[in-house]
C-alpha cells in the first residue's frame, strides 16, 4: 500500500483482513476509516482522490453487494477506486448464507465496470495488489483484488 502511496484505508472489517487492519492502525502514516456500510467507501475514496491523496476500501465479499450503485460515483467522476475483497462463499465455505453473494461478486463487479483480479495463491497477493493499484490510479478506473478463501483459510466455527 505504501509503495503505491495509499495512505487512507476504508473498511467494514473481515476476519481475513484482521492482520492487515491491525498494521494499518499501528502505522502513524496511515489512517483507518471504519465505515457503517461498504458503499460509503466509494464516496470517501473518491473524495480523498479529489483532495490529492490516495485511499482504498477493504471489505468482505458480502459487502460488494452494498457497493454496486455507489460504484457509479467514481466511474462518473472518472476517479480511481481500489478495492481489496476477502472472499467468502466459495472455496470450502461452511456458511450457506455467504454463498449467494460470494458467487456473484465477480459478475456483479464486472457488470458495473470494475476490473477484477482474483488471487488464490498467497505468494501472488502482493504483486496482484500492485497491478490492480497501478491500473486504478493510473487509469482512473475501479479495480478489485479478490482474495480467495484458499489463501485466507475457510472459517468453520469449530464445526467442519
Amino acid at each position: 500500500m505504501q509503495a503505491r502511496k495509499v495512505s487512507i484505508v476504508c473498511t467494514v472489517p473481515d476476519g481475513g483482513l484482521t492482520p492487515l487492519l491491525r498494521r494499518i492502525e499501528a502505522d502513524a502514516a496511515m489512517r483507518l476509516v471504519t465505515l457503517t456500510s461498504e458503499q460509503e467507501g466509494m464516496g470517501v475514496a473518491t473524495g480523498v482522490w479529489l483532495g490529492g491523496q490516495r485511499a482504498m476500501i477493504a471489505m468482505q465479499s458480502s459487502g460488494v453487494g452494498n457497493c454496486i450503485n455507489a460504484l457509479g460515483l467514481p466511474t462518473a467522476y472518472r476517479a480511481p477506486c481500489l478495492m481489496l475483497v476477502t472472499m467468502r462463499g466459495q472455496w470450502g465455505e461452511f456458511n450457506p448464507w455467504q454463498v449467494p453473494m460470494g458467487q456473484a461478486v465477480k459478475p456483479a463487479l464486472e457488470a458495473v465496470g470494475v476490473k477484477c483480479f482474483s488471487v488464490d495463491k498467497a505468494e501472488e497477493v502482493g504483486e496482484t495488489f500492485e497491478a490492480a493499484a497501478d491500473l486504478a490510479f493510473n487509469g482512473w478506473l475501479s479495480a478489485a483484488v479478490l482474495v480467495s478463501q484458499r489463501v485466507i483459510g475457510a472459517k468453520g466455527f469449530g464445526q467442519k
Binding site: I8, G47, A55, A70, L73, A76
Partner: protein, 198 residues
C-alpha cells in the same frame, strides 16, 4: 423537534438562502448532493470549488469526508437534501468517529422527495437528522427556520470547530432550472485542479 414541526414551518426560500450563504463561504469547498442542492449551488454562481453531482445518492457526506481528510487546511461543506442525507445516514457516524475539525453539513430539509414528485419524506414525521448527528459525535448542530439566520449559520458552518451539522427547514418552491456541467470527469478535474493550485 421535527416531530412537532409541520411543513407549514418550512418557509425558507432555498435559492436566495443558498446564494446568501455561499457568498459568505470564505474559500470553503462545497460538495453538493444530487438534484436540487446541486442546482441551487450552480444558480448562486459557478465556482471550481463546487463539486456538483447528478447521482450517487447517499454519498455527499462520504465524498466530502474524503476531501476533508485529504485536505485538512481546507474547510469542506456537504450541502445536501433530507432524502439524500437519510440514504447515507450511517455516514454521519463515520464522520463522528473521524471527527474532522474542517467539516460541516447543511441539510436543506423540505420534508419531501422534491425531485421525484414531492412525495412525503421521513423528516416530515418523527425523524430528526440533527439529533442523529449529535448522537454520533458531531460537535454541534443547529436548526434554522428563518432566512435571516444566514449570518449566524455561515459562522457556524464555515468557522466553528467541526464536525458540525445544520438543518434548514426550506419551503417547496418553483425554481427555474439551473443545470451545471453534467460530465463528471470535467467536474472532478476542475475541482481537483483548483485545490492543487491553492
Amino acid at each position: 423537534m421535527s416531530a412537532q414541526m409541520s411543513s407549514k414551518s418550512n418557509k425558507i426560500e432555498r435559492r436566495p438562502f443558498v446564494a446568501d450563504l455561499l457568498k459568505r463561504r470564505d474559500g470553503s469547498l462545497v460538495v453538493c448532493g444530487l438534484g436540487s442542492p446541486t442546482w441551487d449551488c450552480f444558480a448562486s454562481g459557478d465556482s471550481p470549488d463546487y463539486l456538483y453531482s447528478w447521482g450517487g445518492m447517499g454519498l455527499a457526506v462520504p465524498t466530502a469526508l474524503g476531501i476533508a481528510l485529504a485536505q485538512p487546511p481546507r474547510r469542506v461543506l456537504a450541502l445536501t437534501g433530507d432524502g439524500e442525507m437519510l440514504m447515507g445516514i450511517g455516514s454521519l457516524a463515520v464522520v463522528g468517529d473521524q471527527a474532522p475539525a474542517n467539516f460541516a453539513v447543511l441539510v436543506l430539509d423540505n420534508e419531501r422527495f422534491a425531485e421525484t414528485g414531492r412525495q412525503r419524506g421521513l423528516t416530515s414525521g418523527r425523524t430528526d437528522i440533527a439529533a442523529v448527528a449529535k448522537a454520533v459525535g458531531f460537535r454541534d448542530t443547529m436548526l434554522v427556520t428563518e432566512q435571516g439566520a444566514v449570518p449566524e449559520l455561515a459562522q457556524f458552518l464555515f468557522k466553528a470547530e467541526g464536525p458540525v451539522l445544520a438543518v434548514a427547514k426550506i419551503a417547496i418552491t418553483e425554481d427555474p432550472w439551473a443545470l451545471p456541467e453534467k460530465d463528471g470527469a470535467v467536474i472532478a478535474q476542475r475541482f481537483r485542479a483548483s485545490i492543487a493550485e491553492d
